[in-house]
Subunit: 340 residues, 2 copies
């Protein structure tokens, strides 16, 4: 049985959505796993009361009286709020009371906390966050790093490539995943200093590195894994997330012109909903923090119960596939001396 | 009367689309301007033969027998192909035979050529390219640099801010345009080293610098001008350009399910066409290369006659607004010593 520590505080709809998502997943899983609800026990017990017909032995409340708020400065919050749900949840993983930690709270705090509390896998310079972008023709492109560290050094990108390749293979079942650097042109000569240096290092690894791809190839699906510094990845991720809301605003405006416009806009909305299902983050839940000594999944502050459910299932998968040990093993093989 | 040198070689539909766009614009302009069609005179004369009822005195063929192809290495091509349409067109601007240069050819070659042939405005470290992103609520957000130089230094971003502010004010008519740095969070402490350093320099200028914005704010329209290094800008621009084609692929797939799906997909396509008109690059044509001693507009390789027309009109506007002199004047004011 797998045990997952779930942060139930500090997200937009805490603790309601977390509890609802957890109950949903333990109902389905039929004893496959247990969820530790980490947060203020009074709120959690009150919330659980509303829930019915779930296997009570699969849910356990772990008290954590402090809350790291969305606006808190991450590193400071992790150091000061030692009784927060994030620190308590991560400590449960460290103490082997849980196999994974899942949170929809302050992303920066979960990243910093993940690194500070669990430590990095030996040989990993910087942990990274991955995000999955839906391809036009179906399936996903994985992009690393989308914001764990804003600046990057060439050898970090090499490490991102090794970890990303393992993730694509183990979690997405892709044999020999193709890995590329995000750049301004496909030619080997195109790129900023970081990309040009990283390419040389990636070529020397045994992963399936195919060179450069461009911004358009994220959705076009030219490769399985795309690497970039966390600043660029974060900017693209947030831009991408703003596309559908922007589209909705425009369609709403269109619908206001007349009754016929309204009907046509309604049809459009339904077609888009159906054809863009995989753009919906609820379907794929959170993103993994890779490179730390433990399974950590980070979700949107506005995660719905369905998104929480997906995050818990993703965490379960990562535990089952033994992601941490697999990455650790790969880094043992990396012979070059890594300079921090 | 304004004279514009138009590169008619090396784009995807050269010289047909260039000639058609030029003819269209001189017909409308009623003697307001003249277009120099720069390229192989045999092809151009053959092409012009098909065109009817245009003021022949507004069109002049300027022979240039060499072609810089899309795949040519920019700097090398500019140095070697001295009789190419790009070099000849830029030289026409330098020699004051033309007021502006417009090209849908090899973007890198136009950028390098613009800088090498025309030179930089005194005080400008690096020219930049701007792009306009349509906002959800209407209007545009201008992003600089989208790929003139991949790497950037903090003081280049400061210069981008000064030039971008002038462009927004003069071409888009925005009083006291708001300028921001693209970053991973709004707080002053958020950003990579480049952003954090550039912020200090931008604060010391007299432009309306408002701090950081995030990837989502490009479409949300939180400010008028967004600054970033050319690598990041290029990646976002190409990502953004891939969104609509990706959407089309998905809607097409949806339409193939049944006859009813096909009808609904057709309605969706028409609603999107109507509500996303300003996403269409044909409507806003090319992007300006700012910071060089002359007006240069760069367009898509696949520019339609309509896009060429828009590019010529944009070039006219930049000449009329005296953009080069306005930027030069602003840089005279910049007191700090600029280290290249």
């Amino acid at each position: 049985m797998i045990t997952i520590a779930l942060d139930t505080m500090g997200a937009d709809f805490s603790p309601h959505n977390e509890v609802a998502g957890a109950i949903e997943v333990v109902k389905e899983s039929k004893g496959r796993f247990k969820v530790l609800l980490v947060g203020k026990k009074e709120s959690l017990n009150a919330e659980i009361k509303y829930q019915q017909d779930f296997p009570t032995e699969s849910i356990e409340v772990v008290d954590a009286q402090e809350v790291i708020e969305m606006g808190d400065e991450p590193v400071h919050a992790i150091r000061e709020k030692r009784n927060s749900s994030i620190v308590v949840g991560l400590q449960a993983v460290k103490q082997k009371q849980a196999d994974a930690f899942v949170s929809a709270g302050n992303t920066g705090a979960v990243m910093s906390g993940g690194t500070l509390e669990l430590g990095r896998i030996f040989g990993v310079s910087r942990p990274m966050i991955g995000s999955q972008f839906p391809r036009s023709a179906g399936g996903f492109t994985l992009v690393f790093d989308v914001g764990a560290t804003v600046d990057a050094k060439p050898h970090w990108l090499k490490e991102y490539g090794i970890m990303g390749s393992i993730y694509a293979k183990n979690i997405f079942g892709i044999t020999n995943p193709t890995v590329a650097l995000l750049s301004v042109g496909e030619e080997k000569s195109k790129g900023n200093e970081l990309v040009l240096e990283a390419a040389k290092l990636l070529e020397a690894t045994d992963i399936n590195f195919i060179g450069n791809v461009e911004g358009r190839d994220i959705l076009n699906g030219k490769c399985d894994v795309i690497l970039c510094d966390g600043y660029t990845g974060n900017v693209i991720l947030k831009f991408a997330e703003s596309v559908l809301p922007s589209l909705r605003t425009r369609i709403k405006k269109y619908s206001e012109k007349s009754f016929v416009h309204k009907i046509k806009a309604g049809i459009t909305a339904s077609v888009l909903r159906s054809s863009l299902k995989d753009f919906d983050y609820q379907e794929y839940g959170g993103v993994p923090l890779l490179g730390v000594n433990g399974v950590v999944i980070i979700g949107h502050g506005s995660s719905t119960p369905r998104a929480i459910r997906t995050m818990l299932l993703r965490a379960e998968e990562m535990v089952k596939k033994d992601m941490v040990a697999t990455i650790a093993k790969a880094f043992e093989k990396v012979q070059e001396k890594i300079i921090n």
